[in-house]
């Protein structure tokens, strides 16, 4: 199966929505969080509807609109979203109001927006896309679950599907993960995220959308050829390597065939050791890139990595800001994204040049 990426968009803590990210990467001066650089929403969303939308809904609608504007003649037959937290901030607000109003009648908007599929539903309404519509909330494997569903849709009778990965920072979620030691205790400059050895990482957010098609077009940026997930508590590097070998073998490939590995290292010494062991077995000629110093950690950050991969494959260049180790390969034919969380949720996404 091949899913051609015919359009992409990304709203992130970098200037990715207007294309100036690679020339102007932003430095997040001494913080424990990374917030999205937001576009002017009124350019993408009806202002009357805008006033009732929460942050994550605005991110999703604007990012999907940017993606769809690049292919005005294409009408996606499905909207498939991955979101680890979905509209959790509205749910947090709504549950607080239940307490505040002593379980009497509540203001309706946080309740309306608190459903997990709100973003996908709003996209459908905004663009009048009346087909298949779903959101996968599968923790750190949410985007990959959406991607896998998109593959199935394209392998049946659909030609174009809109796939997205979206998550926002929320105060309650930050607090809960903070108790678990998931975030940095001391503020850090994001470009120094991988320096030193500290527990915790930066809390980020983002919204990436892709129009995937079963047909190649002149504007195809890259091609997604495979996605694989592994849920295994206390997994070892042997488990990961074995799973990767099987995954690559299904595509008649080995690690030697991969030109660029994009890894989800997040700067926390609690979980990064697995990436360190993974890197030791990457062929020396291959390139290695990191991306979470630019977007922070969030449950669908692999969609940021897929945006990076599609740009590298279409431009045939790897920006220095992403490069951890520059290999000797001249061309980028295949990219493998490896992301893992908590040492138990692992995902591989394989992309090829279109």
């Amino acid at each position: 199966m091949q899913a051609y990426i015919n359009s992409v968009s990304l709203i992130s803590p970098q200037l990715t929505h207007d294309g100036s990210f690679l020339t102007h990467p932003l430095v997040n001066e001494l913080a424990c969080v990374m917030n999205c650089v937001e576009p002017v929403y009124k350019e993408y969303i009806n202002p009357v509807a805008l006033r009732r939308m929460s942050h994550v809904v605005k991110l999703g609608l604007a990012a999907s609109a940017i993606c769809m504007r690049q292919l005005p003649d294409v009408r996606p037959e499905a909207v498939i979203i991955g979101s680890g937290l979905a509209c959790l901030s509205d749910l947090e607000k709504f549950t607080r109001l239940v307490e505040e109003y002593k379980e009497e009648t509540l203001p309706p908007i946080p309740f309306i927006n608190s459903a997990h599929n709100t973003v996908a539903a709003q996209i459908a309404m905004q663009h009048k896309l009346t087909g298949y519509n779903i959101t996968y909330c599968h923790h750190f494997l949410s985007f990959e679950s959406a991607l896998r569903d998109a593959f199935m849709c394209l392998s049946e009778d659909m030609q174009n599907v809109l796939v997205g990965g979206i998550d926002e920072r929320t105060s309650d979620n930050f607090h809960i993960y903070n108790i678990a030691g998931f975030w940095r205790k001391e503020p850090v400059n994001n470009l120094d995220l991988f320096k030193g050895s500290y527990p915790g990482t930066l809390n980020g957010e983002g919204a990436a959308f892709f129009i995937l098609s079963n047909e190649k077009s002149d504007g195809s940026l890259a091609c997604v050829t495979g996605v694989h997930t592994l849920l295994l508590p206390n997994s070892t590097i042997e488990d990961v390597n074995q799973e990767l070998e099987v995954f690559l073998k299904k595509h008649s490939l080995s690690k030697e065939d991969i030109d660029l590995f994009i890894l989800g290292r997040n700067g926390s010494n609690v979980y990064d050791s697995l990436y360190g062991q993974f890197e030791e077995e990457i062929p020396q000629s291959a390139h290695i890139a990191y991306y979470k110093h630019l977007c922070g950690e969030y449950m669908t950050s692999s969609s940021f990595a897929m945006w990076v991969a599609s740009n590298v494959l279409s431009s045939q260049s790897l920006p220095d800001i992403l490069t951890f180790r520059r290999g000797s390969r001249q061309d980028f034919h295949r990219v493998l994204i490896y992301n893992q969380a908590l040492g138990k949720e692992h995902a591989f996404i394989l992309l090829e040049r279109a």
Binding site: P47, L50, R51, R52, P107, P108
Partner: protein, 86 residues
């Protein structure tokens, strides 16, 4: 509080409650209909305004007919608050 002062206060509260970002109190005509015409509000906004009256002034609008009359304009809301508000 005089009725005109109450109207100005209420306008600011409506703007905040309904997230009317581009509207200022001066843009709202106290006598213009709030729904369909005027600010062009809808049924969800009506629930939000009912809440505003309950939370800020302790006024419960339970009769649908009375609710329609009270929420007709900013002035009609202000007049009810002056009469019944806590």
């Amino acid at each position: 509080m005089k009725e005109e002062e109450l109207i100005e206060k209420l306008k600011a509260e409506i703007i905040e409650q309904l997230s009317l970002e581009d509207i200022t109190p001066a843009d709202i005509d106290a006598d213009a209909p709030l729904f369909v015409e005027g600010l062009g509000l809808d049924s969800i906004d009506a629930i939000e305004l009912t809440h505003l009256l309950d939370r800020n002034y302790g006024i419960k609008l339970e009769d649908p007919k009375a609710r329609r009359e009270v929420l007709a304009s900013v002035r009609s809301m202000a007049q009810l608050i002056a009469k019944q508000g806590k």
